[in-house]
Symmetry: C2
Subunit: 395 residues, 2 copies
């Protein structure tokens, strides 16, 4: 397969045909190289991970589900190393090219999956989202992207990093197909859906670049009109981007500690080659004090209670998926590091809440895609997908 955007892994040229009948029959998909495919080694974006692991004995559970629904797997896709990145930069295999803006980053860590879908090389793709790894590339590549309710989809056969936050998500170009895939993965039929109220998170919009916020303004108004009832209000106690940054700090602490626990032994045994930034992320996680982790653990249920009180049943929070469009490629780390923090200040919200979030490819800044997100209560996955499908049908 020609791969002009460097979406696919060379180390595993995979083709697994789905069953001939089923709701996804005739569709093709790609899987991030964190998902086990029987008889292939899972690379997780790092050549030393690949070298130190044996071929998988069976497919990851969600891959099995998709194959059984008729979809055909046509490749494994690039990821940030061990999914620890938000931009899709991979110094070993090269950074996939964003088909919607070739001089910009694709987003990550589910970079190759997003790129493969955005380039129409597959009908849909699966990725993982721990701290934004489906939502950010979906926003940057102009796709529908889903982070389901935490625990809803099986992580069996998936290289995770942080059990408290790891989820399996997916990408598609249109809402109808996106919902069809969702119905298979969630194992649920669902009707179209109209929420009772939208809450536009003023602190999240204020955290975005002004051109991004301006680009999403008319989209927000359309959503508002569609739903009828809406409210503009902050969602953090501080009511400002700084409040979201505090949440991000807690989430990064919890994720950083868990990811270090997950990989510390392997790193100790292997001394793997990482891009400097990934090592730095791990080293920061390794150095987190127990006190800092305890603070984050203590804050976490308070954050959940705060958001639960805002998010009544039938209500969605609306926010920019990312605070800006895809950054330019080739920037120094000193420039992108701050950008990473700003993205995670928005994506951490669903993570902390364990809630479902869907990003819709409805915005752009000068033709460069930008996603807008709806975040629902835990278990609202079908409602989000039903609303997205209905919206698209009426746009």
């Amino acid at each position: 397969m020609d791969d002009p955007y460097n979406a696919f892994c060379d180390h595993a040229v995979v083709f697994v045909e789905g069953v001939s009948d089923g709701p996804l029959a005739g569709l093709t998909f790609a899987a991030k190289d964190l998902f086990d495919i029987a008889d292939y080694r899972t690379g997780a974006g790092n050549p030393d991970w690949l070298m130190t692991h044996s071929p998988a004995s069976r497919h990851a559970a969600v891959v099995e589900t998709l194959l059984a629904a008729g979809a055909t797997l046509v490749g494994k896709t690039h990821t940030d190393e061990l999914s620890r990145g938000i931009f899709g930069e991979n110094p070993h295999y090269g950074t996939p090219v964003n088909p919607k803006a070739e001089n910009r980053l694709p987003g990550g860590s589910s970079s190759g999956s997003a790129v493969a879908v955005a380039a129409s090389m597959v009908d849909f793709a699966i990725g993982t989202d721990t701290g934004g790894s489906v939502r950010a590339p979906a926003s940057f590549c102009g796709l529908y992207g889903m982070r389901p309710t935490h625990g809803r989809l099986s992580l069996d056969g998936v290289v995770g990093q942080s059990p408290s936050f790891d989820t399996v998500g997916w990408f598609a170009r249109d809402a109808e197909l996106f919902a069809r895939v969702g119905a298979v993965l969630l194992d649920a039929e669902f009707p179209d859906y109209l929420p009772e109220c939208l809450i536009f998170a003023t602190d999240a919009f204020a955290a975005a670049d002004s051109d991004a916020a301006a680009a999403l303004q008319p989209v927000a108004e359309r959503l508002s009109v569609t739903v009828g009832a809406s409210e503009w209000r902050p969602i953090s106690p501080e009511g400002s981007p700084e409040g979201l940054a505090v949440w991000r700090g807690h989430q990064s602490t919890l994720q950083g500690r868990e990811a270090w626990q997950m990989f510390a032994d392997w790193i100790d045994q292997t001394n793997p080659r990482f891009g400097y930034e990934v090592s730095e992320i791990f080293h920061t996680g390794a150095g987190l004090s127990d006190r800092r982790v305890a603070e984050a653990k203590e804050a976490w249920p308070r954050i959940v209670a705060h958001l639960d009180a805002i998010l009544a049943p039938g209500t969605f929070i609306c926010l920019p998926t990312t605070p800006f469009v895809a950054p330019l490629r080739g920037q120094p780390r000193s420039a992108t590091k701050a950008l990473r923090g700003r993205i995670v200040a928005l994506t951490c919200i669903a993570g902390l809440l364990g809630a479902a979030q869907i990003t819709l490819p409805l915005g752009d800044v000068d033709g460069v895609p930008l996603g807008i997100s709806l975040l629902g209560r835990r278990g609202s996955d079908e409602q989000l997908l039903g609303f997205a499908r209905q919206l698209a049908a009426n746009l």
Copy 2:
């Protein structure tokens, strides 16, 4: 050239003939891949350094000196990444094999140079020594190795890491040739030499493994008999291995800060791939507080004054070069990290003093080499070489 011990860099198959007459005519040598060779890129043990640098316009100064003395350069040799390591482990190019103990590490960072000499593939080799990078591999591979007085040999055309401690050193299998190379590099003829007194550093011997200390005991006695006057005494104010560990802490702080300053911009621009341990060393350097650096800077002249008072003219300090023989290959980082600290607790002494140190391949533990070192005042390079030559002639 066959390279069964993986000493040489594949990316630069170098051959530069020396002049036909000269004190080193007919001899071959290798240069660590930190030394510029005209028309070749210097790789510094890291593929991303190699990729982001242009071919050198001229030879490093010491290479020029050796060629002009008749020696022929036959290859560039592997190094720890950016010379930041003491064991010779390189995850990109593979760890060179110690010809004297193939299941053990070669030592580093001048790993390939030591291995090439130990395997008799060249007559001598040059390396660099910032925190022990010539002395440790010389000890582990059973070679003569020299760290000259700081500032004595030109670093022109050499990838340095820490200007306060960087030096150019060299390796050879026998003392006579070792001294001949020294005469060329130091640009000085020198007679044999007998020091007036040897000080056996009891705290340094106590820092060694018991089998290593026991193996060096008869060597020390032979040296003592040869010189006539000797004294067993501690050299640190505390008089214990802990005192040397305090010095190591200061030296690592100073070196860590300087090395971070040296490479921070390049790391920022490049996000290079490093083995995790090297990233960790850099990240630790990046995180050093100004207060910690100020403490080390304040302690440094006190350490120098303390050692200067012990090291009268005509006196050498004798100590184990490394506190143990070459560690086994393939150990986890958690095992080797503590070993690294213990090595540097001995090698930091000459570094802090800016003094010359020669390691002599006179010890072994069950046939595995172990070096014993003589450390002289700043400028005692010729005396050390003259003593080593005389010792060897009389052994």
